[in-house]
Amino acid sequence: MTTKNNSISRSWWWKILAIVMLVYTFIMGFLGPVPAMPIINESIRNLYFHVTMWMAMITLMFVNVIYSLKYLSSGKLYHDLVGEESARMAMVFASAGLITGMIWANFTWGAPWVNDPQLNGTAATMLIYAAYFILRNAITDEIKRARIGSVYGIFAFVMMFVFIMIIPKMNDSLHPGKGGNPGFNKYDLDSNMRMVFYPAVIGWTLFGVWMMSLRVRLRKIEEKIHNA
């Protein structure tokens, strides 16, 4: 439990930044100008609330794998705690991304689930991290759980990464901007959407990290109460 980690998770400026960015995202996301595109229409605004979920999820998965590596080299349970909680938060964002995506797809593609690389990648990712939690729950010893969980986490992350890289080679995506579909940037000449999209990515990612650090602190308090 290094003091450095505590000071970052307890400093407030980036939490304020997250709130400001998200308030801006919600206001501009719903009210700001968007290009008029056929089929997608106003649902293009989902860019701010769906694509950003994936960005936050991938960031948290990177945190998970980095802290798993850190745990294996240091043996400090704090590192494993951060790893576990970031995986949990990544699952929350994966579910949120899946739900926002499925609602959007139902209107745009006419079906909530289609054979699309992104969807298959998400399904695989969620199964992998569900397995990660099942494995962790199967082990009662704290140190053993941390070590084995970290090993599986690293292996799973690499396999997930390979899967996400491989799968677009298999079939074309239906997503905007992929597989020959018109993307956002092509029509978005005045970059209006980018002015909302980038802050939204930063906002949601910071929000995810914030929630994760809160969970870590909660777990530490629980541990203290339990041991007292």
Binding site: L72, A124, L127, I128, A131, I134, L135, A138, I139, K144, R147, I148, S150, V151, Y152, I154, F155, A156, V158, M159, V162, F163, I166, I167, M170
Partner: protein, 220 residues
């Protein structure tokens, strides 16, 4: 004893133990035969080459999981302690992986032979299909061996091997089904060689990861 001969000795030891207790190998064979026969009774005939291929790999996946799930479980505590005190963990995992590749390769060959007889084989390029079988066996065995190692340190619950292993096998299965599908259609090597390269790369990544990560599991 250098590293290479340690691995070789362990592979030989593994084979000897297996041969002493032939029941395990026999049960594996019967398991695959029964799954092929169940498929035959439920499908009768498979006309679509895509289905033919997918069914074969699903049978292979289950046979492989069944074969490899036991690779750490069947060992006694005493033997594990002996390994631990005498040998580097890297030698243990590599020997297990290579032994399982041999086991699954042979099992896959037998499966392929019988499966092709029962369901009429649509494969146009048998050499390429067999190469695919080898690459698939390498990938399945190396992934599942590490997973079996993980599970052996958890609570030795054999169902856990499937739960942990299947999601990790998605990329391998997708690629191997594409590769062998091309072999069925009789595509030229020029089209298929990039898939072969990717599969070799993936297998390399899995084996290197197992080599690097296994020592952390082993230490207790």
């Amino acid at each position: 004893m250098n590293f290479g001969s340690q691995v070789l000795t362990l592979i030989k030891l593994e084979a000897k133990l297996e041969w002493k207790n032939r029941q395990a190998v026999t049960s594996l064979l019967v398991y695959s035969l029964a799954s092929i026969y169940i498929s035959y009774l439920s499908f009768r005939q498979v006309l679509d080459p895509v289905t033919w291929n997918a069914l074969f790999w699903i049978i292979m996946l289950f046979a492989g999981t069944n074969a490899i799930a036991k690779s750490f479980i069947q060992e006694s505590k005493g033997l594990q302690f002996f390994y631990y005190s005498m040998l580097p963990p890297q030698a243990v995992i590599l020997s297990k992986i290579f032994y399982n590749i041999l086991l699954l390769g042979v099992l896959g060959g037998i499966n392929f032979f019988i499966y092709s007889m029962i369901f009429q084989s649509p494969v146009q390029n048998n050499e390429q299909y067999l190469l695919g079988l080898l690459l698939g066996s390498i990938g399945l065995s190396s992934t599942l061996t590490l997973v079996a190692g993980i599970v052996s340190k958890a609570n030795n619950n054999a169902a856990l091997v499937a739960i942990l292993g299947f999601p990790l096998l998605f990329p391998l299965l997708l690629m191997i089904i594409r590769f062998t599908g091309n072999a069925i259609n009789g595509y030229s090597w020029a089209i298929n060689q990039s898939w072969c390269g990717l599969l070799l790369l993936l297998n390399g990544i899995i084996i290197i990861l197992s080599y690097l990560l296994f020592p952390y599991l082993w230490r207790e």
